[in-house]
Structures are given as C-alpha cells and as structure tokens.
C-alpha cells in the first residue's frame, strides 16, 4: 500500500477513532481563532477610528500680514517638509471670510471696509505620529519667520495620541495573550491525546512501525482539524456580524484575504502545536 496513502488514511481514521478529543480540539481552536479574529478586527477598527479623528484635527498657522505672495509660497514649502506634516493648505483672506460667515451665520463684511482676517495655513499632521513628533512639528512651525500664531486643539490631540498609544499596547498585549491561550489549549489537548495513546504508540513501535508512520497520522489529523477549525472560525465571525448587523460599522471589513489568513493561521497553528506536543514523545 502506498506509504502516503497509509499515513493520510490512518490520520483521517484517527479523527473518527477519537471523536470526542478531535471535536474538542476543533472547537477549542475554532473558538480561539474566532475570538482572535474578532478581536483583531475590532481593535484595528478602533485604532483606525482614532486615527481618523486625529486626521481631522488641523493646525492653523496665521501668517504675518506683511508677507507677500512669494514669501507665503516659500513658507508653505518650508512647512511642508517638516517631519510629521502631511499637508499644508493656504487659506487666503477671502476663504477665511467665507469660513467666518459659515461659522457665525452672519455677514459683518458690510460693516467694515476691509477684510481684517489674516491669511493662514491649514496644516494636517501625519496620523501615525507620536505626541513628541506632533509637538516637535508644532514648535518648528511656531519658530518660523512669518508665522504669527499657531492654534490647535492641544488637549484633544494630546488625549487622542495618548489613547491611541495605550490602545495599541493593550490590543497587542491581549492579542498575544489570546494567541498563547489558544496555543496552550491545543497543546494540552494534544498532550492528553498522546498520553492516552502512549500504549498504542509503544505497541506500534514494538511491532515494527517506523516513526514516520506513527507521527505522520498525527500531522494529518492536525491538518484536517486545523482546516475545519479555520473555516469554522471564519464562518462564526461572519455569522456574528450578520446576526448583529454590525458589518456596516466596520471601516476595515471581513474580506477574502483576512479569511484566508485565518484558515492558513489555523492550519499553521494546529501543525505547529502538533509538532511541539509530539517532539518530546518520540
């Protein structure tokens, strides 16, 4: 009989021989992965939302009224190359007046002869930047010749930066914890299976079975269980979003690539645990 066929058939048969243990492995792996998948999806979306909020906060830098157009353009270029600056838009006097009208829903321009509003730059900062980088960029802009005053939502930006960093740390910590927990559950499960099968394995060795023939079916079993658990996890997460109609709330949505990564991760996770659990046995 073909050696590979023997390993594959024995591995698949092994799942049916130890139905309860296999079911436990599949369920524990599926739940761990679904939880991890859900967690990554939600944490990425939360971080994305904070980033988006950070992106909406613009810095206003008011230009010295004595600066001419050439000097203003040079200043704009100078600001654009400051580290942490994403974009610089010039708000001229007319635009400033328009904004003023929008903000106060009134037109005071008829009361005075000249538009008193200064020209300014609306500067958007890189959303990935740390608080230190943001502060640094602001300080540089403030110190530039031709900049009269810099205004920004200091407290809000500081808070958003703080929460972004903290969330990032918590998400990584909990995510790694969940992954380790899943790995541990699988490892314990497989160790228990090996313990109960220790006598069978020993007998197989005594009647002349090669190590590859004894190990092989365990890997096949892990491959099948990992694949089922991976697809199960994707299905479970998709189902959860469908049931709670939460798909529209997500910025980063469940997609084919992320699903494929869950299934692939599940197979890798399963085979790696199998390798880890049986390496001491043989």
């Amino acid at each position: 009989m073909n050696f590979l066929f023997l390993i594959v058939s024995d591995g698949v048969a092994g799942i049916f021989r130890s139905k309860i243990s296999s079911l436990m492995t599949i369920i524990s792996l599926m739940l761990s992965l679904a939880l991890l998948n859900l967690y990554i999806l939600l944490s990425q979306n939360v971080l994305m939302k904070i980033s988006e909020l950070k992106g909406r906060i613009a810095i206003e830098a008011f230009i010295d009224p004595g600066f001419n157009d050439t000097e203003i353009m040079a200043l704009q270029k100078q600001i654009a190359i400051v580290a942490g600056v994403d974009s610089v838009d010039l708000i001229d006097k007319a635009e400033a007046l328009e904004k003023f009208k929008e903000m106060f829903s009134a037109d005071y321009s008829q009361l005075i002869d000249e538009n008193p509003l200064p020209q300014s730059f609306q500067i958007k900062l890189n959303t990935e930047g740390s608080q230190e980088q943001v502060q640094n960029a602001i300080d540089i802009i403030k110190s530039m010749e031709g900049i009269d005053e810099v205004k920004y939502h200091h407290k809000l930006l500081t808070s958003l930066n703080y929460y972004y960093r903290r969330m990032q740390q918590i998400f990584i910590f909990v995510g790694v914890g969940l992954a380790v927990l899943g790995f541990f559950l699988l490892w314990v499960n497989l160790k228990l299976t090996l313990k109960t099968k220790a006598r069978i394995i020993e007998t197989m060795e005594l009647v002349g079975a090669k190590q590859s023939l004894i190990r092989g079916p365990f890997y096949v079993q892990a491959l099948v269980e990992g694949t089922i658990a991976g697809f199960g996890a994707v299905l479970l997460v998709t189902l959860l979003f469908w049931i709670f109609r939460a798909e529209n709330l997500l910025i980063i949505k469940i997609n084919f690539i992320s699903s494929l990564m869950v299934v692939g991760g599940s197979i890798f996770f399963s085979i790696f645990t199998c390798f880890w659990a049986i390496r001491g046995r043989f």
Partner: protein, 218 residues
C-alpha cells in the same frame, strides 16, 4: 540461517537489576523456554532482542542485524522479522480485530489485496474470523491473546517472542494457547517463551535457559 545470538551481553538498570555476561544462541526452528523469578532479567532479554534496550557490553545478533552497529532507522526492520506476544496482549485498542492484524502487514508495505487475504488466513488459523469486526475490549482474554498471536505471525517472522503469554489466562485457556505455540513451532518458527511457570515448562521437553540473579544458566 537466521538466529538470535547473545555474545557476553551485560545490561543493567539503575537499580542494579538486569543481566550479566549472557551467552546463548536461539537457533532457527528452536523452542526455548526462558525461566526465572520476577526481576531475574527475562524481560530484559526480550527488550535486548527487540533492540528496545542496548547492552552495556557485548552484542546481540538478530538475523542480519547486530546491536553493536545497528542504525536507529533499522530497528523497525529488526522488529518486523520478530513476532511479539505479551502477557497483557498489547492489542491496538483503538481499532478492531481485523485492523490489528492488517496494521502489521500495512507497515511492511504490502498491497491491500494481499493484506485482506493474509488477515483472513491468520484469523482462520486462530479460529476468530467471526470476531473480525469486534474491538479488543469486546473479546475475552484468551481471544485477545489469539489475536495477538495471529498478529505476531502475520509477517511470517523467523521467531516468536512470548513474554508470559499465559500469565493473565485461566488454566484451560492457557493450555489452548500453549498448543497454538506448539503448532507454530512445528511449522518451523522458532519460539522464545519467557515464563516463571515451572508446571508449564515441565509439560514440554524443550530447551530451557534459567536466569538467576541476571546470569544465564542452561
């Protein structure tokens, strides 16, 4: 001619038990009793033959393989030319009677058609064809030992190692099992039977090796 040869073999465990300077040969078609009290070293000799244990000094020759220079991947090949019968039967509890016998044929790479024919033949020889779909735990002790013998014989080994094969059986069943070993021997397979049952040994006029404090006395 395939045989098993112990050349001044010593193998001791950390507790001091084991065998000392054992010298003997089990020839082809021979029936040999290995006697001695518990802890005398009977199982140690069987483990040395199966290369599950290696000598501290001396060497064990099993067919064309020698413990002195055998490679790790050759150990299964040694075991495939030996049939093993244990006191506690050691059937693969997760598969049925048919699969237990078929397993040893599959690991040697036989075709499924041959495996089926040979498994049925072995089942017929031990008179348990009708129990082929049962699981080991559904069989009596005597039936389990018959299946273990059928499994041991499936690959046509040149020797059968039996470690207290009747130890867990009642007198009547044990007699039946011994008759089976006699038939196996008469057909040309060597048998090495480890036992501490003197009555059993006295029923036959085969060669006896007695183990006393790890030393082999003929």
């Amino acid at each position: 001619m395939k045989n098993i040869k112990f050349n001044a073999v010593s193998a001791t465990y950390s507790n001091g038990e084991g065998i000392k300077k054992a010298d003997f040969t089990l020839n082809q078609r021979e029936f040999l009793f290995l006697t001695g009290s518990s802890g005398a070293g009977k199982t140690t000799i069987l483990k040395l033959i199966l290369m599950a244990l290696f000598p501290d000094s001396g060497d064990v020759q099993v067919g064309e393989f020698n413990s002195f220079n055998i490679k790790k991947n050759e150990i299964p090949l040694v075991r495939r030319q030996i049939g093993c019968v244990f006191q506690d039967f050691r059937l693969l509890e997760d598969r049925n009677v048919y699969e237990n016998i078929a397993f040893v044929l599959r690991i040697t790479g036989h075709r499924e058609k041959y495996i089926k024919r040979k498994t049925f033949k072995m089942l017929a020889e031990v008179g348990l064809t009708h129990k082929r779909n049962q699981m080991p735990h559904q069989l009596s002790g005597g039936e389990q030992q018959r299946i273990a013998i059928a499994r041991a014989l499936a690959n046509d080994p040149f020797v059968i190692l039996a470690d207290e094969p009747t130890g867990n059986l009642d007198a009547e069943t044990a007699a039946g099992i011994l008759d089976l070993f006699k038939v196996i021997h008469e057909r040309g397979t060597a048998v090495l039977m480890a036992t501490h049952n003197k009555n059993l040994v006295d029923r036959f006029s085969y060669r006896i090796l007695n183990l006393e404090n790890g030393k082999v006395v003929e």
